[in-house]
Amino acid sequence: MSDAVKAVFETGFFTDQPVHVALAVGTVVAVITAAVGVFTVMRGQSFAGEALGDLGATGGSAAFLLDVGPLWGFTLMSLAGAAAMELIGIERPRGRDLATGIVLGAGLGLAALFLYLDTTYHNTTGATITVLFGSLFAISSSTIVPVAALGAAALAIVLMLYRPLLLSTVNADMAAARGVPVRLVGAGYMLALALAVALAAMTIGAILSTALLIGPAATALRLTARPGRAMLVAALIGIAAVWLGVLLAYDSYYWPPAQHGWPVSFFVVTLIFLSYVASGLVARRRGRS
């Protein structure tokens, strides 16, 4: 029995400090992105979620250049991006898609410049990879407190706006008729999305941020129609994916090829992708019977 346990949890998994930090931060981020993500999926704003993560990375590369903490870079740039999208934003989904695209394009252009300057002035060629791909194992434990505070803010906004947001998501016209300030509620939601995505992109990388925002929420919404319950299910799926991903990545140092650990983001993304595909099969079987 203990041999089997040892084969699954390689030596040192439970005593390793970076693993503890990775699991703690991953859990916090999974819970926050699950709550925000359910609305992102219901409102059809996956593209905005993905774009804000990339914009956050642009801010991160600027912060790297100026030698200020990455937290400010990610958060400010993500908020600025959300504001720009709201300003250009047109009510129709197609116009929104375009507004997101234009802002993202400009942001990626800036990222190209900042990362170029980073590698020129700081002589660290790894900046591109670090900023864009991130790593759960590279988080310093001092970032946990500000990350938790920002996450709590995003969560508080979503919970405060829960009813009007739900109503204007499901039926904007009816919400407007009942006196809900639809535009304002939408802007408040964008604020929560920008905060959640910024902290996710900073701690776990832009790829994983999109994966955790969209994947678990979309999977949960296929299993249950109730938004509140979907948030719970999404949080559980997200936490499970992060924990399993960290475990596999830790074990992978002992896999071939030698001396190369497999990245956490690969494992977590794969687990999330598979769970979404599987939930589609479950939902279809349920629909048929």
Binding site: L104, A112, T128, I207, A218, H260, G280
Partner: protein, 267 residues
């Protein structure tokens, strides 16, 4: 700037701009900016994988952009389209992260794959780019009418026997083809701003579809030429100029459209 080794760059970049302008017209018409972002960005994984196993970069890019496009098509048909796009994108990027971690020589190469490299275009990239461009132009010429109809009025197209699902697949393959040829010059992240900025600006200048298509190509060419010239003289990355000039062009289009509307409104 026009010396011998830059001739390839100018040629390849011009071909890429024409294709981006053409395909981008349909991207904007269909409101598919997310797809135009996801397929090229995800194809980055193909480039990383190709250098890992040691095959031609074009092969890796082609395989992964087609896989990504098909995955978007299938997942998007069975569920929410934007969710399918997002998850296809992150899955491909996750694979890219894996390939990068497994290979040793990466940081600088990854940067130029993502953001483009003006000076790196060699003459053996010319033939595959031109070939792919020719295929793209042929497909667009053949499908122009049904694809436009299905993009603007899906239901009407369906009634006239134009399958929306089939047109969606054709469109996705077009985006995949366009993504495959982008890496030598603009990079996987910035072909996207070319495919969205130029045609979106063109659409705010004119409502006539054929005119908008031509203008979209012309604007894309102008953006790419300006970006290369600026990058050559300042040494800053070409992606920076492509991204910002595209956004500025779009802003100009919006201002022009707003001014035009006001003028036609007042007697």
């Amino acid at each position: 700037m026009f010396s011998g080794f830059m001739v390839n760059t100018w040629t390849v970049a011009s071909i890429v701009a024409v294709i981006a302008g053409l395909v981008g017209f349909f991207v904007v018409l269909r409101g598919s900016a997310f797809v135009a972002h996801a397929v090229p960005s995800g194809s980055f994984a193909g480039a990383a994988g190709a250098s890992l196993v040691g095959v031609n970069v074009f092969v890796g890019l082609g395989v992964f952009s087609l896989l990504g496009a098909l995955s978007i098509g299938v997942l998007g048909r069975r569920g929410r389209h934007d969710v399918g796009t997002a998850l296809s994108l992150v899955m491909m990027l996750g694979l890219g992260a894996l390939f990068l971690a497994l290979s040793d020589e990466y940081a600088q190469q990854a940067y130029s794959l993502l953001f483009g490299e003006v000076l790196g275009v060699s003459s053996n990239e010319l033939a595959p780019t031109a070939g792919l461009a020719l295929v793209c132009v042929l497909v667009i010429a053949l499908l122009y009418r049904p694809l436009t109809l299905s993009s603007v009025l899906g239901e009407v197209g369906e009634a006239r026997g134009v399958s929306r699902w089939r047109m969606e697949l054709c469109f996705l393959v077009l985006v995949a083809l366009a993504s495959t040829m982008t890496v030598p010059v603009v990079g996987t992240l910035l072909i996207f701003s070319l495919m969205v900025g130029a045609p979106a600006a063109a659409r705010s200048f004119t409502a006539n579809p054929l005119l908008a298509l031509a203008l979209s190509v012309a604007l894309a060419l102008a953006i790419v030429w300006a970006a290369i010239a600026a990058s050559y003289t300042t040494n800053y990355p070409v992606g920076f100029f492509v991204g910002t000039i595209s956004a500025a062009t779009y802003a100009l289009g919006r201002v022009w459209a707003a001014a035009h509307r006001r003028r036609s409104a007042s007697p």
